[in-house]
């Protein structure tokens, strides 16, 4: 399954461009120049398909593309049914060549490693046995963010140790209100007096999401990756939240799920409902963060794509004006989504650890 099918379908494409159109108020110029469907039918080399370009940009990759044809090749780590394989993605050329490894021959198809047969055709059966643990662009971006977080907060921690009992200074004074905000406005009101136990997790989640959101807004190295807009990352964060919430659930929480205050013959109905509740909360967390960040990236990339769709530098000022506007909005979204994710995590922990009063 490929989402590009959806974006490629004429209806979606049309409504997508109508949306952009209504924003830009350049209907006439659009009608004359920009019908992507027609363009695609024309010269193949000249054709620019924004949906492909956009999906390529928000997806993970085995290369870190810098400019033009220059890209940093990243290590490929594969776990196959026969054992591990590691090699550089430079072996794929620019994704056009096949590489013969120890166990299978591999090639990139839409930036995914697939096992291919000698003729160069994708071997689906063999591909299913190959698990890709590569250090991809998102993994590297994730590590850059982690290192940045560690450096920043170790520095802040050391300045706290140096200036015991004194007023914060420098970067410390920039971070402290944020930490105090997470404590006083997220953890305390939602979790109650037991908040201290969960502060490390909430702070880590908040700053991890925030810094990845912010780095994701930078269009060039070391930014450019779409970490928090990748469902795998939000999936992990949501799973961690779910585990923490359920591990810390007290007897009232479990009683509410397995023995709620309803007639006992309703239990068979209540159990699945409550079970869905347990799963739907982290699921919503996962989708919310992923969708918000991905949507922002798609809008920015669409606005940039307009220049290539119209094939006119004259569109650039309009595009750039809107991209700047969107980027500012995305700054807000970056902060807001970090806040919302942390807030909801605190809220779920709060409901799971709440002492019951009747």
């Amino acid at each position: 399954m490929d989402l590009s099918h959806i974006l490629n379908s004429k209806k979606i494409k049309l409504s997508f461009f109508l949306a952009v159109l209504s924003v830009l108020f350049v209907g006439k110029a659009f009608a004359v120049q920009g019908n992507p469907g027609q363009e695609k039918a024309g010269d193949k080399k000249e054709a620019f398909d924004p949906s492909v370009a956009i999906l390529e940009h928000i997806a993970d990759s085995h290369y870190w593309h810098l400019w033009g044809e220059t890209a940093i090749p990243l290590p490929v780590i594969l776990y196959t049914n026969k054992g591990f394989e590691t090699f550089s993605s430079a072996n794929f050329g620019h994704g056009n060549e096949a590489y013969k490894g120890k166990y299978y021959t591999y090639a990139l198809e839409k930036d995914k490693v697939k096992a291919v047969d000698p003729s160069g055709k994708v071997d689906e059966a063999a591909s299913k046995k190959v698990y890709d643990f590569s250090i991809t662009k998102n993994v590297v971006a994730l590590w850059i963010a982690c290192v940045l977080l560690l450096v920043l907060f170790f520095a802040v921690a050391s300045s706290y140790k140096k200036r015991v009992g004194k007023a914060p200074k420098g970067f410390q004074s920039f971070i402290e209100p944020v930490i105090v905000f997470v404590r006083d406005d997220i953890a305390r009101p939602n979790i109650g007096y037991k908040y201290e136990r969960f502060m490390p997790l909430l702070l880590t989640i908040f700053f991890f999401i925030l810094i990845n959101n912010l780095i994701g807004l930078v269009p060039f190295f070391p930014g450019g990756a779409n970490v928090t807009g990748n469902i795998a990352v939000t999936f992990v964060l949501a799973i961690i939240t779910m585990i923490v919430v359920n591990v810390n659930g007290n007897k009232y929480y479990w009683k509410h799920i397995f023995a709620p205050d309803v007639p006992f013959w309703l239990y068979p109905i209540m159990w699945p409902v409550e079970l869905v509740g347990i799963l739907s909360r982290p699921f919503a967390l996962m989708i919310r963060l992923f969708a918000n960040i991905t949507a922002g990236h798609i809008i920015v990339l669409s606005l940039i794509s307009l220049i290539f769709v119209f094939k006119s530098i004259a569109v650039a000022p309009v595009s750039i004006a809107f991209v700047v506007f969107m980027d500012v909005l995305e700054l807000l979204v970056a902060l807001l989504q970090a806040f919302v994710f942390t807030l909801l995590t605190a809220l779920f922990i709060g409901t799971a650890t709440e002492e019951h009063h009747h």
Binding site: A59, I77, G165, R183, M199, P200, L201, T204, A232, L237
Partner: protein, 164 residues
């Protein structure tokens, strides 16, 4: 669907990275930072409470001082009042004593004067008596120098004495 299918590789690396990040930050960043913030907040609160207490102490001391001052003033007034009373009393007593003493002296003087007067009067009486006797003797002597006069007198006297 590729976009919404979590890839195993990224899930794996994210999990490991996030957990390592979490433990490192929790141990070396959040704990000291939260601790330091807590300590500082507590010290600020402490300082504020202490300031409040000091203020209260000050008010208390001021009040105490004022009360002491008031008491001292009252005491002073009382002492002054008492002193005045004592003074008045002493003066009164002295006056009374002087009066009685004076009266006594006057009384004595009066008695003395009277007694002296009486003595003097008695003396004067005596002298007058002697003088009058002397004068009378001298007059009588002069009167009765001739015999005729003596006879006249006897005659007069005899006239006066009516024989009943």
């Amino acid at each position: 669907m590729e976009l919404v299918t979590p890839e195993i590789g990224l899930v794996f690396w994210t999990t490991i990275s996030f957990l390592i990040l979490f433990f490192l930050l929790a141990k070396f960043a959040w704990r000291p930072i939260m601790g330091a913030i807590d300590v500082r907040e507590r010290s600020i609160e402490d300082a504020l409470l202490k300031a409040e207490a000091a203020k209260e102490e000050m008010t208390r001391l001021t009040n105490e001082n004022e009360a002491l001052l008031k008491q001292a003033r009252a005491e002073r007034d009382l002492i002054l009042k008492e002193a005045k009373q004592v003074k008045d009393q002493i003066i009164g007593e002295a006056k009374a004593a002087a009066q009685t003493e004076g009266n006594k002296i006057i009384e004595k003087a009066k008695i003395e004067i009277n007694s002296q007067k009486a003595i003097a009067m008695a003396d004067v009486k005596n002298q007058i008596a002697t003088l009058s006797v002397d004068i009378a003797e001298k007059i009588l002597r002069k009167q009765f120098e001739d015999k005729h006069k003596q006879d006249e007198l006897v005659a007069d006297l005899l006239k006066e004495v009516k024989l009943n």
